[in-house]
Symmetry: C2
Subunit: 349 residues, 2 copies
């Protein structure tokens, strides 16, 4: 098993575009910042909206979900809307950010139309497609994502271009965390690389630990989007079913699953996302939770976030998780870049 992850050349060949996007994550973040600075915001600059709704599906929603968690303490509420319709409270003081990597996601295009009907200020984020066309025709400010990626690989450009645009629009938030976060990612990159042996490579060792199990991910509330990202990366890259839950909420329900039948629990691997500076009380409860799961789950693993600021913690955990999903795909012999079942569903008219 382990020797599959010792052949860096083979990993590079089979990892393909997904690996290249991961290796370029810090550069992707910088490209996102540049895109956010360059976009002509027109009447949006300094708008200070009452609330923000980020509309997107799947790989085009993840930037919004991370912004929601990161900016939970900011003064402007951010919702992520994954579906055809905008919520009832959407009004002309609500900034709509419509994100569709392809530009042709039918749910998000419907939401964009609704936003235009309701007279909302709008920002579009896309690489192409109908969304680009509509935005150009209607004079909607547009952030052009780089083409030729898998939607899920455009995360750094999505996340940072929107973040910088929000700063310019007047949203107050801990923008100074961005510098540290990119530095933390740069430090982490060589440790996660194909050339680093499994013993020294956290993502490889997590992938080896998860192999043969259904992953159940538990994360603190401010890391909920990271847990969800890892879940969907396990779905898309590693073709695995996976679950995610948030803590402390899971202490009140999910923990009961460990009392279930042994022949089911032995198939599950718990992966707990931890962060430096958890606070004594929460740390004791997470440790007790881990010990309870160890008594019955097939395996219990931990993924430790890095850095001081919340954004560093979020993005470092995400980076380790993304690489883990890639290495796990290779262990199973899957091509991480294919998403056949998603494409089959898109074709259903």
């Amino acid at each position: 098993m382990a020797n599959i992850l010792e052949d860096a050349e083979d990993i590079r060949r089979r990892g393909g575009g997904i690996l290249r996007s991961l290796e370029n994550l810090p550069e992707g973040c910088r490209e996102g910042i540049r895109l956010g600075e360059e976009v002509e915001l027109q009447h949006l600059e300094g708008l200070k909206p009452r609330r923000i709704i980020i509309a997107g599906m799947g790989g085009s929603a993840i930037g919004g979900l991370i912004l929601r968690d990161w900016l939970l303490d900011a003064s402007t509420p951010i919702y992520v809307s994954a579906g055809y319709h905008l919520p009832g409270f959407t009004d002309d003081e609500t900034l709509i950010i419509a994100v569709s990597y392809s530009g042709n996601t039918e749910e998000t295009l419907t939401a964009l139309m609704e936003a235009m009907e309701r007279g909302c200020p709008i920002l579009a984020v896309t690489s192409n497609g109908r969304m680009r066309k509509i935005s150009e025709e209607r004079g909607i400010p547009l952030i052009p994502l780089p083409r030729g990626l898998q939607p899920r690989a455009s995360l750094p450009q999505q996340l940072f271009s929107i973040a910088v645009a929000l700063r310019r629009i007047g949203v107050e938030a801990p923008w100074d965390e961005v510098g540290e976060a990119i530095k933390v990612l740069e430090q982490l990159r060589p440790q996660l690389a194909p050339e680093t042996a499994p013993e020294a490579n956290e993502a490889k060792s997590l992938a080896l630990g998860l192999w043969g199990y259904i992953p159940h991910i538990y994360a603190p509330r401010r890391m909920e989007a990271v847990a969800y990202r890892l879940r969907t990366q396990l779905n898309e890259n590693a073709k695995l079913p996976a679950c995610s839950a948030s803590l402390p909420e899971g202490f009140h329900n999910a923990v009961m699953g460990r009392e279930g039948p042994e022949e089911l629990l032995e198939k599950l691997a718990a992966l707990i996302i931890r962060e430096p500076g958890e606070g004594e009380r929460l740390k004791r409860r997470i440790n007790a939770f881990r010990e309870l799961l160890e008594e019955s789950f097939g395996r219990v693993l931990e993924l430790w976030a890095r850095g001081r600021g919340l954004l560093s913690k979020i993005l470092s955990a995400l980076y380790i998780g993304d690489y883990t999903s890639l290495y796990l795909a290779l262990l199973y012999g899957y091509d991480p870049s294919t998403v056949k079942s998603i494409e089959l569903l898109k074709r259903v008219g």
Copy 2:
């Protein structure tokens, strides 16, 4: 196997308090309405808050989650906050509804303190404990939940007392759906009863279908809270690990899990929550999704909601799901009322 669910007397004996709460669900709804009408709202009446945050954990959060989904088209945004801290945008125009069945949930008590510090209008919902004491001392309007239940069994009182209070506070919403919803529950009740044979009892037949599998629940976005409720009822009543995901979002990621290893997928049962009037386009995509899962999941089941209004659909699906979790507990030989692992974690100081 099936004969375990044919002995109504044995089911009544082993189902205990959880079964009695289920059989009293319609009466619990009416009790909730009465509690909401009777509470002295003082300065909250007609307040028309800018936004609403419902703070609660586990079984005390589920009423809030259902309100969030049901009232997504209403004009006042509702957030559910599950944790120690309130979001940064909490201000004195934000109504905080703090829900703790026991009254001693530490996360929710912390949130309640924060709400007082920020000068928010507050409504407390509890059966007892410190929350009752604080509310009485500070003159915070309090909805008294009936005592002696499991927190998760107080759902109808939670949900309807808060709904009626919101109506009195000036939140505009489809309140006229309440009458139909209770009627639908009353019609459903005899079909789900211990005396009804498995062939005619949707909950018994779902429980038999789920037996031996890890349940993965998929539900339309407006039924997200129902899927989550079923997940947590499977955790707490049936001591099972379980997952939930929302549609159409799951078409963009979760569906990829079906391409995974056979020896893991054969352990999973998909349960898709469906509703009358899905719309042609979504129906075709859900049907295609089901067919894709059928090729690799151990089992694929459907749970059909009833009624015309959204609230009827939500509560009928919840009712069938609640009974399913109870019957599944009995099939496994578990006592549905015990939650030992949750209690162990509560004791960690």
